[in-house]
Assembly symmetry: C2
Homo-oligomer: 354 residues x 2
DNA sequence: GTTGGCACTCCACTCTAGTGAGTGCTGGCC
DNA sequence: GGCCAGCACTCACTAGAGTGGAGTGCCAAC
């Protein structure tokens, strides 16, 4: 009934604009309480909340209004209220805010980044574990894209038996490899010669923009190797499209739901790296930080919410952090953790990839 | 009461030696049925099984004997029988056997290895997915150990801003990297010089056996870089101890149990790569192929069974396959899949790493 | 040793209150 | 008009009683 809807939207203030202060306070209380208890919240539990200094009867009538406006719902008559996706949305947009990370959490983050060592991949992997610990959500960390990183070094390494490895180092420290088959037993000199020509051809340009073959050397066997190497680089450039994903704390999903079916379908999604990466991408592209319930359009995650935070290095996007939990997840905590860890991670990546 | 136990073991035949043929057939039928239905099996459901041409009353008395001997158990009086861990053990050792992979499965394996491409890590990752699909279990694939692989190439690549990358290629095609910090802005020539000395020092020896520093060059700055590189190599050698693990199909664990708690604790274990790798290692070391229930000693996995299969390349162990499922998993299928995929994977690794 | 028969057990299910948290409504008060 | 105490009502949840049936153990007979 679009007519009725339009009517409402146009003439009744509360639907579009902010809710009346007390209703907002009540909604806030219901969401907060429900996030903590996972139980429907009754009017009695809300009367003592800040900003609500009225009787339970009045709260009830406000709750009924909030339900009419779609912020709350009842599992059944004569049960307490549960926030709807719209209710969570209002909470996140108008009420919650990032909220500070507690002292223990801040300490954990500091300690983590003080002791973080090793290569990027390892650090990202561990970061996902940290986030999961902090928020009790499943954490997803997408590594920096290497699309624009230029080639800093190319090397051909013979592995014996007609096999060689093309090893590429990008300016941001990423290393890619691809094995190529050689036509016949090749001596190291030819390999080195071909490697040199390959390097001259691609050094300084992004991996994705490698085209053509190196200039001919006059020796057919060397040219063949160089061409094979160039082909390998191209296939590496194409494969680089899908960024690396690190998922941590997927066991938290089992604790979040008591229906095994839900757990299974969520885990199934998490196993599909491509789906997850593009899901996070999509959410970011629509300009959201939090996607609640059906907002992200992935049906099996309808009872989940996702917090997304871009990781930027010097203003340039260099990865993404995602937190997956039930729609009744602790948004303030998740937002705070994502922000803090994202910032620190960005700094770290900046130090490494200058 | 060890005395009683000894007494039994020594003087009563059925406990140690094979069960009487019909009892074995009954046990076989119970296990098979229970694997399929997950419901306690009554005597009536067994009378039609091959090798059991007796009435249900006789089956009952045999079942009672099997229960006395510890092969079966009852959830409660007047319910059907469920196999104990010992019952599964007998089934696996004496009855089941690998059992052939069905046509669809064989086709799937063939297709997978025909189309498998890319580098080892990617293939191992996908192999875990394949195994999960085939068996409906969670699959674990441990990559080949690089402990004994000798260094084929070492390179120092400058990344700008006092940062350089040590890139090591091992003879089996594995690539390792580690960033090092340079004392001050260093020119490429010094980097190349140091790289050359580093290479001369370690080429041909296994990564884990890198000791000392390269021979001095006479230039202090070059020596410093070379020393830093050698230190990086040592730390890489140490880090190489824990092999790469790829877990596929962890969502299957959610389908296997209906207690969310169990699912959560199993997933928690799966997140700890080190634990999983050493668990598989331990099982192999005790000479087992299948570890059932408490046999592997990891308490949260008490209701799980693990099928382990070494992957060997030319007789040398080069990785491990593991399948994790509930104790009532389909052992013949899991064993068959593990064997077939393990063999094919071994062949593949052999082709690549010669 | 095997079998049909029989009494028994006990889970799973249904049905029936009874309980209580929570609601919507109403009439009176400020 | 907004607020509130009071009240009747709703309905999930729980406990207890009753029932059906799948399954067992035992026994006497073949």
């Amino acid at each position: 009934m679009p007519t009725t809807d339009d009517h409402k939207t146009e003439h009744l203030v509360p639907d579009e604009a902010d809710l009346d202060a007390r209703k907002a306070a009540i909604l806030n209380a219901v969401v907060t309480e429900y996030i903590g208890s996972a139980q429907p919240v009754g009017s009695q539990h809300v009367v003592d909340a800040p900003g609500v200094s009225v009787s339970s009867a009045t709260v009830r009538s406000d709750m009924a209004a909030l339900e009419r406006d779609g912020y709350l719902t009842q599992p059944h008559t004569s049960a307490g209220r549960i926030p709807t996706d719209k209710g969570y949305r209002f909470f996140v947009d108008q009420l919650g805010g990032p909220g500070p990370l507690d002292a223990g959490g801040r300490q954990q983050v500091r300690q983590f980044f003080d002791h973080a060592h090793g290569e990027i991949e390892e650090m990202l992997e561990h970061t996902s574990g940290l986030l999961a610990d902090l928020t009790d959500c499943t954490a997803m960390v997408v590594g920096p894209s290497h699309e624009s990183a230029v080639v800093r070094s190319v090397q051909l390494v013979g592995l014996g038996h007609r096999l060689a490895l093309v090893v590429v180092v990008l300016a941001d420290g990423a290393v890619r490899k691809q094995s190529i088959e050689l036509a016949e037993d090749t001596d190291d000199a030819a390999l080195a010669e071909a490697g040199g020509r390959l390097a001259a051809h691609v050094l300084g340009s992004p991996l994705a923009q490698v085209v053509g073959t190196p200039a001919p050397s006059g020796t057919a066997s060397v040219d063949a190797i160089a061409a094979a190497g160039a082909a390998a680089l191209r296939s590496l450039g194409e494969a680089d499209g899908h960024d690396q994903l690190f998922v941590g704390g997927s066991s938290r999903m089992a604790a979040a739901f008591d229906a095994v079916d839900t757990v299974r379908s969520v885990l199934t999604i998490l196993e599909q790296q491509l789906v997850v990466v593009s899901l996070l991408r999509d959410i970011l592209d629509t300009g959201l930080t939090v996607a609640i319930g059906a907002e992200h359009g992935v049906e099996p995650l309808a009872s989940c919410a996702i917090v997304v935070m871009p990781v930027s290095v010097g203003g340039v996007e260099a990865g993404t952090i995602g937190l997956l939990g039930p729609t009744r997840m602790n948004y303030p905590l998740a937002l705070a953790a994502a922000r803090v860890v994202g910032d620190r991670l960005g700094e770290r990546l900046g130090e490494a990839a200058r």
